[in-house]
Symmetry: C2
């Protein structure tokens, strides 16, 4: 890890992974699932919402994305991937009484994810010096609606959608820097996930790892990151702002 | 013109033309030109800055864009078009003492254009109900830097650059609606220019004409728009917000 500001003097933009790094997707999906169950009058034990959320994320997003990366499936919006998996989960859990409007609305829970408590105040501080933008596999509409809902003060919305690929494809990081009129070394990727940061690093971007121990549940779990890996390691966006001298 | 809110109940996003509609490009370029002349120690009559600004805009942007639209030139970023024209103007005016750093910096005056006085307060009001975004031929970096500089509270940054075309190509309007996850009729284009609005209308978007009589100088000049043309006609973004019941 470098000392404060050294090595990142030329950085002009910070790009943020979103799911897990900026927003707490798991708690948000669980909460809305529980509210939906109540509205529908389902018995409390009909759905295990933490497990539902984890499966939706793992199979509807992570695994679907890998199939696209391997060329086994064409690129489609994350909204579509989420919906395909939601329809399967509805089948599996016997929730077929959900009508089209309710399915569409529940699928948009991913547009309404709640930020971690430090996300908005941290971003406001970081925005004073840097151009701040998401760089997510989430599509533009999802990221735009999420920002409006959660008050995320982005300077612009960059999505892998704009480049027709998904992270960790190098094209996503390189084209994001280019569209901002910047060299890769003028950009720093901020993420809670090692793979995203390692791919950024291979493209010449700077990197900041932010620990999000509760992304996957109330039992703290951290990525396997060594102490000197990446330009910065922080416990929150506010901690990162302090380390950057803001 | 429709009465308040009728016919636009389904509108979810407002897309804004930028040069002339949101920002006063002419005064901004003149002012920075005069400051540059002073720094360089040029005699006060060496450059007619209003004329310089007009030529830069007309030949470096409007005409260059038409060549791209006619297929006579490949699509390139507006930053590049502006720079090509700036280099020609530098030749014509005998300003070759400007070094590369000064040329690059002056070319970025288009990233630092000043908003009209009602732009920021009007956008803040309109943002309460609508997704607000630029839809400009200016490139993403230009629009992002401009927003940061001028405090434009966009929800996202949409540029013709994302679609590899320039307005008034229908693809730009249709793809902008699509990337927001909206139908054309859920989007309203806001512009000070008839051609932009007519092209939007042909794509099924709603339209709001905002009068900017001083875009081209201190002598007021308006577009040739008939009284009932477009869904709304307004004197400012704040006037538009009022007409929309905000």
């Amino acid at each position: 890890m470098r000392t404060i500001m050294s090595g990142v003097d030329g950085v002009k933009a910070l790009l943020f992974d979103v799911f897990g790094t900026v927003v707490d997707w798991r708690s948000s999906v669980i909460r809305e699932g529980q509210q939906l169950a109540q509205r529908q009058g389902w018995p409390a034990d009909k759905v295990d919402w933490p497990q539902f959320a984890d499966t939706w994320r793992r199979e509807g997003y992570t695994q679907a994305m890998r199939r696209v990366a391997r060329g086994e499936a064409p690129w489609v919006r994350v909204d579509v991937l989420h919906r395909q998996m939601l329809d399967r989960l509805i089948e599996q859990h016997g929730l077929q009484d959900l009508d089209e409007a309710a399915r569409d609305s529940f699928n948009r829970v991913w547009h309404r994810l709640q930020p971690w408590p430090d996300s908005v105040p941290g971003l406001i501080r970081l925005k004073r010096r840097y151009v701040i933008s998401p760089l997510s596999n989430g599509n533009v509409a999802l990221l735009t609606n999420m920002a409006k809902h959660a008050g995320l003060p982005w300077d612009c919305i960059l999505s892998a959608e704009l480049f027709g690929a998904f992270k960790p494809d190098p094209a996503v990081y390189l084209k994001a820097a280019d569209i901002l009129g910047l060299q890769p070394q003028e950009v720093m990727m901020v993420a809670a996930h090692r793979g995203d940061l390692e791919a950024s690093e291979r493209c010449g971007l700077h990197t900041a790892y932010v620990r999000r121990p509760f992304e996957h549940g109330t039992e703290p779990r951290l990525e396997d990151v060594s102490p000197n890996q990446f330009d910065f390691q922080a416990d929150s966006f506010e901690d990162l702002a302090i380390q950057l001298g803001l």
